[in-house]
């Protein structure tokens, strides 16, 4: 196991005060903080090798291209993928949209008599399957695809314990695509994605897993997901803002029409017709986020040095502690699994009689940064009949003292709003 105290030294921001008290950052599920090693790597790139990649023959351009492509290799190794299967996007949201647009673009082109891979053509009578615990990023692109093509959106429901209800018949022969979250950012649930992807493949559908909350927090091998695509963001795993990853099976990426089009993704260009490069270039139009790729690769190295198994174990322990401490506070209800198996470190809760906004505010006044709201899972909130939740999420730099501080904040809120007789120390 690693030394949290030592890890914290790598994160200058954690030494900060907010509202006059020391910062306790428990919002890594929204975005993680960055170690100086990542910031140094980005800066080193800018100060030494910055140039347009894949477009120049001079020395700097060669160095920049090498830095960018090496970063791709690091990312591929981090999740057990082939280098050519790693597409850099600006965030996970773009990754999911990229795949959704492969369907609408292929469908449009098929209508105009162009040759496309039939697996990406959808229309009335076809279905797309998601779940009731999806982040908006893995819901709305599919709603939009259905609105544009006439396909139908279906979803797996969620049990009172916050587990997926894998009802038979949701996925059936009409299903063309299945996309589910690996670890829910609101409930913390870890879903049996391999089983779901197998269900998809059994009916000839393709499948994607939203690994935004799993790749930063546990060892993930994309081959073991059983999926065709997976996507996540760099900013949640110690990396810079503005970069994400789409992993896709090579044969599928090469069977998809392009998404964003322009420079660097072409093979031949004429005024009236163009042909396109193979993946991953096909999906990286324009000058890409080179410095961010370099920074993200450094973040992978940082996590690899800690060991992703250790990261998972560290957070498992913190989650157990968080669940236990919350259980001791009267009037607190956890939304999501309360037993610590098949769940990650996101813990959402509501406090009886106090709106999550007010809970979060009282915690913030103690320096505790937690997120309040629907966490971009509004339908999940509705499923649990709450307008919003307060959410604690942890990472490698958090310890039990941080959780204690959060609990104290909750008790403060209860005392302040008079919903509890116990006043915190």
């Amino acid at each position: 196991m690693f030394d949290v105290k030592k890890v914290r030294e790598d994160f200058p921001i954690l030494g900060r005060s907010v509202r006059g008290v020391p910062l306790v950052y428990l919002d890594s599920g929204a975005t993680s903080q960055k170690p100086f090693q990542v910031l140094d790597a980005e800066r080193h790139y800018y100060e030494n090798s910055n140039a347009a990649v894949h477009r120049g023959a001079h020395a700097l351009a060669e160095e920049a291209t090498d830095a960018y492509e090496s970063a791709r290799e690091t990312l591929a190794n981090f999740v057990g993928a082939e280098t050519s299967e790693i597409v850099f996007t600006k965030n996970a949201t773009e990754g999911i949209n990229l795949v959704a647009y492969a369907f609408s673009n292929a469908t449009d082109k098929a209508r105009h008599g162009l040759e496309v891979d039939p697996r990406f053509v959808v229309g009335p009578g076809d279905s797309i399957v998601v779940s009731e615990m999806e982040h908006h990023a893995n819901l709305i692109p599919w709603q939009e695809l259905c609105a544009k093509t006439g396909a139908t959106l279906r979803w797996f429901g969620v049990s009172d314990e916050g587990r997926l209800i894998l009802e038979p018949g949701v996925i059936d022969s009409s299903t063309k695509f299945v996309s589910v979250v690996h670890q829910s950012n609101l409930l913390g649930t870890i879903n049996p994605v391999k089983e779901i992807m197998d269900m998809a493949h059994a009916v000839g559908a393709l499948g994607m897993v939203d690994v935004c909350q799993s790749v930063p927090h546990m060892p993930v091998d994309v081959r073991e997901l059983g999926a065709d695509f997976a996507t996540w963001s760099g900013h949640k795993m110690l990396g810079p803002t503005g970069i994400g990853i789409l992993w896709g099976r090579n044969d599928l990426l090469n069977a998809m029409p392009p998404f964003l089009t322009g420079g660097s993704m072409i093979e031949m260009v004429n005024m009236d017709h163009s042909t396109y490069a193979p993946a991953p270039q096909r999906f990286e139009a324009g000058v890409p986020m080179v410095a961010q790729a370099v920074g993200l690769a450094r973040a992978c190295d940082y996590l690899t040095d800690l060991g992703m198994h250790n990261v998972f174990e560290h957070e498992r322990e913190l989650t157990a502690y968080t669940l236990a401490e919350l259980a001791k506070v009267d009037g607190v209800r956890v939304i999501g699994p309360t037993d610590n198996s098949e769940r990650g470190s996101a813990v959402s809760f509501v406090v009886e009689g106090i709106h999550p906004h007010d809970v979060g505010h009282m915690m913030d006044a103690q320096g505790v940064a937690v997120r309040v709201g629907h966490h971009c899972c509004w339908p999940t909130c509705k499923r649990f009949d709450v307008p919003a939740t307060t959410r604690i999420t942890t990472y490698i730099y958090n310890d039990k003292a941080d959780i204690d501080q959060a609990i104290a904040g909750i008790k403060d809120a209860q005392a302040f709003f008079g919903t509890s007789s116990k006043v915190s120390a």
């Binding site: 709106h355 999550p356 909130c381 302040f416």
Partner: protein, 153 residues
């Protein structure tokens, strides 16, 4: 601590909301949602026999949004559109002031308690949502001050 946000007046309005259900015929209704937190408010606007505004509302939200709706109803109910307009403008201005405006108690009465909210960008929407619904409902009910300052229907 949180004194600048949660003034006594705010807590009082939160715990004892005023004017939640005024009996009236609704001439205009507006439903507003805060997309970042899911809070919802519905404001109905009607007209009294003397041409004054009648307001009723339902609000699901945090203490700030509930207290603000209560203050809003207290301040606006029974005012003519011409009397209400400067109050509405003053409250919106206060919320956009980033804590740098000294509110006028003559105009805003209990509303001055929200001065501290304007220092918390994420909470300003909570304080404003019922006022936004009011303005929208007034337009629908055509209960804005004459001459009609339209343009946002």
């Amino acid at each position: 601590m949180s004194e600048d946000l949660y003034q006594e007046i705010i807590l009082d309005h939160y715990k004892n909301p005023r004017g939640k259900s005024v009996f009236m015929t609704s001439l205009g209704e507006s439903h507003q949602v805060n997309p970042t937190c899911g809070d919802e408010v519905t404001v109905h606007v009607g007209s009294g026999p003397d041409g004054t505004i009648q307001v009723s509302y339902e609000c699901q939200g945090c203490s700030i949004s509930q207290a603000s709706a209560s203050v809003m109803s207290e301040l606006i109910n029974g005012k003519t559109p011409e009397e209400a307009a400067p109050i509405q403008a003053a409250f919106i201005e206060l919320m956009q002031s980033k804590g740098k405006l000294e509110p006028d108690e003559e105009v805003l009465e209990d509303g001055i308690a929200f001065a501290g909210v304007s220092k918390y960008p994420a909470r300003i929407k909570c304080a404003l949502i019922s006022w936004m619904a009011l303005a929208d409902a007034q337009i629908r009910a055509q209960l804005t001050p004459a001459p009609n300052n339209s343009g946002t229907d």
